[in-house]
Each structure stands twice: as C-alpha cells, then as structure tokens.
Symmetry: C2
Subunit: 226 residues, 2 copies
C-alpha cells in the first residue's frame, strides 16, 4: 500500500478535478492505494461493501453469479469508479470485480466520498453524469446482446475491445474462451467455434491470444445485423 498523494495525482477522475485542495487533503487521509495482479479479486460478491473502489490504472471485469454460472457484466478500463452502485445501494456487494491485468486501485472511505457529494455540487454532478453515461451504455449493450445471435454478439465484443478498450485493430485478448462465453452468455465451445469461423473467413486472425481484426467492415456488418 503506497501512501497516496491525491493532490498531485495525475489520474484524477473528472469528479475529483472539482475537489478543492482542502478536500483533496481529506481524500489523501481517507484513501489507500492497493496494487492487484492479473486474476486478483478486487472486491467480491457477497462481502461487505465498505469503500469506493477507483480504478486508477488497469483493466477489470465486473461479474456476478447468474443462474447458469458466472456472467460478465462489463469490462472497465481506467480511469473509472468500479462499484458505486453496489457500494451505495446495498451493504453487500452484488457483484465481483477482478483484475484482468495488473491494476492500481484506490479505496476511498465511503464517508469521505459521501461528504464530497453533500458539500460539493460539481463533484456530485460529475458522479451523476458518470452513472448516467454508464447506464446508457449498459442499456445499449443489453438490448444488443439480448437480441443478436452468437455471431453478432461475438462480433460486438471484439469491436468493443478494439474501439473502446485498446483503440487498435490488434490487441491481446484479455479474456479466455470461457470468460468470453460468460460475457456473451453462450457456451465455451460455441464461442470457440465462432472465433474459428471468423478466422477461416479471414475476418480476424489469431496467434495465441494476439488477435487482429482484418475485416472490420465485415465484423461491423455481422454485429449490426445480429
């Protein structure tokens, strides 16, 4: 655990940009940075939610137990608040956050965070904006994922990784086949077959975990038509 230096932190959230020096000092003394390795659980479903988790650097999967196994709800890349809904709305975490690569997390005391909301309108407004933006994206993904069939669902997450997460046509898959199936709500085998098919058709190429999107246009078409 490093001693935090929130005042000079260059990974501040948009909301934290609105904090005064005095408030940043309060943050410093009520905040702890912890570093997680790939695969480490940051907070776990069913345990007490006592802090706000802020993802300063890294990549995280948010997932929960569904009726038929694990369900990945979303991937989050830094910077982002990880568990606001589960921390504010329930004493107990409703979902788990797991690091997909080495990640730095700041745990902020809930009281301090709440205090900022009460006393700093700009901070509160940014938090609300953030929650709203996330909900909108969730709705979009929900509508898409629930109506598309497998090729479209797989195409969508590949494009999402390429556009939002890595901003490149070539990237290392952060999820294995089984996790991919948890994300698109399918079976490990079906996802695997789908990736094979995309490869055979020359839409993507894979070398170990290294994935390259060769025909983004086709992938886009498959994603759109479902």
């Amino acid at each position: 655990m490093a001693s935090p230096e929130c005042r000079i932190c260059s990974f501040k959230s948009p909301a934290a940009e609105y904090l005064s020096n005095l408030e940043l000092e309060a943050l410093e003394s009520n905040c702890a940075q912890i570093n997680f390795k790939k695969g480490d659980v940051i907070f776990r479903e069913g345990t007490l939610a006592t802090n706000i988790a802020y993802l300063k650097t890294g990549l995280v999967k948010v997932h929960m137990k569904g009726p038929a196994g694990d369900k990945i709800l979303r991937l989050m890349k830094a910077p982002a608040y990880l568990g606001m809904p589960t921390t504010f709305a329930d004493k107990v975490n409703n979902y788990t956050a797991t690091a997909l690569i080495d990640s730095h997390i700041c745990f902020i005391s809930l009281d301090t965070f709440r205090d900022f909301i009460f006393k700093n309108g700009s901070f509160a407004y940014e938090i609300i904006l953030d929650l709203c933006q996330n909900e909108l994206k969730d709705y979009q993904r929900y509508a898409n994922m629930s109506q598309k069939q497998l090729p479209g669902r797989v195409a969508e997450i590949l494009l999402c990784m390429s556009h939002e997460l890595f901003k490149s046509n070539k990237f290392e898959l952060p999820l294995n086949n089984s996790e991919l199936s948890d994300f698109v709500s399918s079976s490990r085998e079906s996802v695997n077959r789908q990736l094979s098919d995309f490869s055979k058709e020359g839409i993507i190429s894979m070398n170990k975990k290294e994935l390259t999107i060769l025909r983004e246009d086709l992938l886009e078409k498959i994603s759109l038509k479902g």
Copy 2:
C-alpha cells in the same frame, strides 16, 4: 396541463422531500404536469431530451429499438424519474417511454433540476442513490435474463409483476404477447406457448388479460433454475 402545486404535492420523490420551500417554489414555476393515456408516448427515442420526466402516477414501459425489433428495458411504476440517464448523458433520447395505463408525468426543466443537484447535497445524494439502486436491479435482471431459457424468463417477469408492480397474485397483464416477447427477448409465439403451458400445468390461470398465479412456489422454482 394542470398548474402544478409542488409544495403540497403528496407524490414527491424521496429526493424532492429534501427541497426547501424556496426550491419547491422554483420547481413549481419550472415544471409542467401532463397526463398521458394508455399507449401514449411520453418521450421518444431519437428526439431531443429537454426535460426530466417524473412519473407521478401510472405505469410506463421503457423501450428501445434493438437489432431485431423493439426491446423493453424495464417497466416503471410511480413514483419514479423516467429518463435521467438519457437526459443527462446525451442530448438525444436513447430510448422511448410509453404509458401502459393512464399516467401523470411532471416535466421538470433540466436547468432547475441541475441547479438542485449543485446546491442541495441531500437532493443530489438521493438522486445518486436512486440511480445506483436502478443499476443494481438492471444488472440482476440482465444476468438472469441472459442466462435463463424461456420458461425461466417468463416465470421471472410474471413474478416481478406480481411482487413489485401489483403486489398481488392476481393482476391484469399490462403487456400483450408481442410486448411480453419484446421484454423477454423471444418470439410472440414462444411466449404464447409458454403461457399456455403454465396454464395447462396449473401454475397460472388466465381469463382474458386477468392473470392469476396459482402455484407461486413452482413459478419461483422455474425462475430460479432457469
């Protein structure tokens, strides 16, 4: 359009309970109540989002165009803010809200609402709480709906209607078969067959739109196991 009397309104949201008399006066002069009939569109996907819509009384479906037709995201019963995410996070509505029964909506000027967030910490906190609670419920439903197969999905929404919306084992279905299929992401025919099956098995009984849950225990079991 009735002239609003927010100060003495008995349908205030938890957040609005924290508004001062002065703020309630400001609300009164920046707010309009409009009454919608069953089937009326309250705000529509693709149009400009200019106000916060507060559902004072009634029942509303929130839905959006998906790749394979309409997708119902959630049913909302009064009291509730209808379109915060879409109003705050985007200039254009990302989804449509349609009245399922006669409903009273207050349209609140976005500037006024934003002002409350900036200046009244308790108000802001209640709004954040509300957003978080909704997101948590959405995640839960998302994980369930994406992993269960049809019997479980239909069982789940019937139980949801019974428990959350109508608080009774007997209620009038607010959706027709086609809308039900938009909600559970299936086809009209499959949903219809599923309801027939539940009837044949004595789990529910239907008389026109009037639905009675006869074996809640069985329905619960079907919903749980997927």
